[in-house]
Symmetry: C2
Subunit: 359 residues, 2 copies
Amino acid sequence: MSVTLSDVANRAKVSPATVSRVLNGNYPVAAATRERVLRAVDELDYVLNGPASALAASTSDLVGILVNDIADPFFGIMASAVQAEMGCQDGDGTGRAGGEKLAVVCNTGGAPDRELTYLTLLQRQRAAAVVLTGDTVDDPAHAAAVAAKLARLAEAGTRVVLCGRPPLTAHPDAVLAALPFDNRGGGRALTSHLLELGHRSIGHVAGPAERTTTRHRLEGHREALAAAGLGGDRAGGGLTVHGPYDRRSGYEGARELLRREPGLTAVVAANDTVALGVCAALREAGLRIPQDVSVAGFDDLPFSADAVPALTTVRLPLQAAGARAGRLALGTEKPPPGRVAEIAAELVVRDSTGAPRTG
Amino acid sequence: MSVTLSDVANRAKVSPATVSRVLNGNYPVAAATRERVLRAVDELDYVLNGPASALAASTSDLVGILVNDIADPFFGIMASAVQAEMGCQDGDGTGRAGGEKLAVVCNTGGAPDRELTYLTLLQRQRAAAVVLTGDTVDDPAHAAAVAAKLARLAEAGTRVVLCGRPPLTAHPDAVLAALPFDNRGGGRALTSHLLELGHRSIGHVAGPAERTTTRHRLEGHREALAAAGLGGDRAGGGLTVHGPYDRRSGYEGARELLRREPGLTAVVAANDTVALGVCAALREAGLRIPQDVSVAGFDDLPFSADAVPALTTVRLPLQAAGARAGRLALGTEKPPPGRVAEIAAELVVRDSTGAPRTG
DNA sequence: TTGTAGGCGTTATCAC
DNA sequence: GTGATAACGCCTACAA
C-alpha cells in the first residue's frame, strides 16, 4: 500500500512517535535525529495521512469558506484574501508544508439549505475553522437553524468567523468574530450624494428581496430620503424593484423603473454588476449617463473604474476584510472587543453621477 | 465529547456495524431497522466523523479544484461548474443522499510551488479527485514535477482531471482525462478576423511570457499573420508585449504599443479583462473604438457583452467544460477516447472591431 | 530526548 | 439481516 509513519521510523531507526514529533514540530527533538527523520521522509517520499492524524488529534487542518457565488468577484476577492492568510510559506525551506491549513471554498449559491448542507459537511470533516461570507436569507427560521449549527461547530472546537454578514442574534457566542459591512451607512451616503446633486426622483434596483444586505442598503437609502423630507410612497417602494445580483436584473429593473417613472433622474443599483445592466438599459432608451440619468453601484469591484462612464459606487474593502477574517479564523489576530467590528463603507464618486438635467 | 456511531447504535439497539451500513446505504438492511437507526441519528443529532471514515475506508469525499486566481471570473465560473456537479447523486437509486463530495477550491495564484504544495495537501487528505484548471508555467522542470506528483496521486486512487490545461507529456496515463482549450485555434480565428477586416498593423498585449496559454494564443496569432504573408519582424514580437491577466497590463501594454507604432489599427488582448485596460488607454489617447483602433479580447466573460463598445472576443465554454470535468472527476461520465478532448473556441464578433481607418 | 502502548471513530471481514 | 472484531495510521500521555 502506501508508505506510513512506521516505514519512515524504520528507515530512520527511531520510533514512530519520534517521527510524528518532528513532523508536527511542536515537540523537542534532537537536531541529529530530526535530520535523519527528514531524510527518511524525503527518500521514501512520505506524505502524512491527513484523515488518520485528524482522527487521532480530533481536529483537521481544513478551513471552510462559504460563499454565495464563487463566480462573482465580490466573493472571489474575499475568498482569495482569506486563503492568502492560510500561510503557504514552508516553515523550514525544505519545501515541506508545515502548519499548513487547507482553505476550502464552498459555493452555496445563496441557497439556505445548501448553506446548512455545507456546514454539516464541514462539521463532518471536523474543520478547524469556518468563515461565512456574504449575506444570508432574512428569515428567522433559517437564521435560527444556521445559528444552531454554528453553535454545534463552535462547541466541537471549530472557530467561526462572519465576514460581511451581520452577527448572529441567536447564539452570538458561537462566533469568534463578526465583521459586518456597513451597508446601511453606505446606502445612506450614496443616496445623500444623489440628493445633494439635486436629484429628487431616484429609482432603486435592489437585490433579492429576502436578504439582509438588500434590506440594509435599502434602509440606508430610505433614511437618506427621509432626512431630505422625501418619505412616504416614493420611499416606500414605488421606485424600488428587486432582483438577483446580476447584469440582467439591472437591465430589466431599469426598464421597469423607466416605465413607472419616465421622469427618473437617478438610479441606485444593488451592486456594480447590476449597475452595468442599468446603464445598458438606459443607453438603449437613448438616455445619456450622467447627463440624463445618474447611475450608482455598490462594492467598487475592479471593473467599476473601467466602466464607461466610470461608476460612482460605495467601496467595500473586500480584500482587507477577507484577510482579517482569515487571521481571525487562524487565531493569528485577536477578536475585536464585543466580537463585532463593523467594516466601513466609503463613497467613491466618479463619472456616472452628476446634477440632474434641468427642467 | 461528541456523539459517535456507537451512541447511535445503543440508542437504536443495534450494532455499530448496522448503523454504519444504513448510513452508507450500500448494504442490505431491514426497513424497520433502518427506520429505527435513522430516528436515533436524528434524535442524537449525529454527524459522521469524516476523518475516521476516511481512515477506515482509505478514501475521502474531498475533491480538489486548483485555480490560478479565484477572484478572476474565468476560474470562478469553471470552479462553480465543477462544484455544481458534486451534488447528491443517488448511488443506486435508493434515493438516500450519501454521495456528497466536498469540493475544495485551492488558489495557487499561478505560482508553481504553490501548485505543488496544494497537490501535496490534497494527497495528504487522500482526495477522491483533483481537477486542475487553467494553464501552467511553460517550464520542463515544473511540468515534470507536477506530472510526478499527479502520478503518485493517481497511484493512490485519486482521479485526476485537467480542465483547460494541456495534457501531460511526462505521465500521460496519470490523468483520467484532459480537456484542453483550443487557444491556438481561437487566437488564429481572432487575428484572421482582423486581417479580413483589412488590418495590417496589429498589436498584441499577451499574457505572462512563460505560460502555455500565452504561448498557444500567440502561436495562433502568428499562424494567421503568416498565412496572410505578414511574417518576420512584426510577427516576431515587434508589436507584442507581455503582462499579467489584469486591467493594468492592458492599459500599460496599449500605451507601450502606441509608442512603438502610432499607426496601429488593432490590438489583440490576452483576455477580456486586459482588453478593458487596452480600451481605457486608447480612449485616453483620444482614439475611438473601433473607428480608430479595433480591440479584441479572449474568453468572453459575462461583462464583455456589456462593455462599451461590446467586446469582440473568443468564447470559451467555461461552464460546460467545468461541468464535464466535474463529471469526469466523479466518474459519472466516461473519459473521451485517448483521454483527451479539445474544447473548441468560438469567435464572437461584436462592436469593438471594425474596418481600419482609411489612409 | 526517545520509546511504549492505548485509543481516536469507522469500515470491512468474518461468522451466525 | 445482523453482530463481533480486527484493522486503518497517527497522536499522546506515560515511562524510561
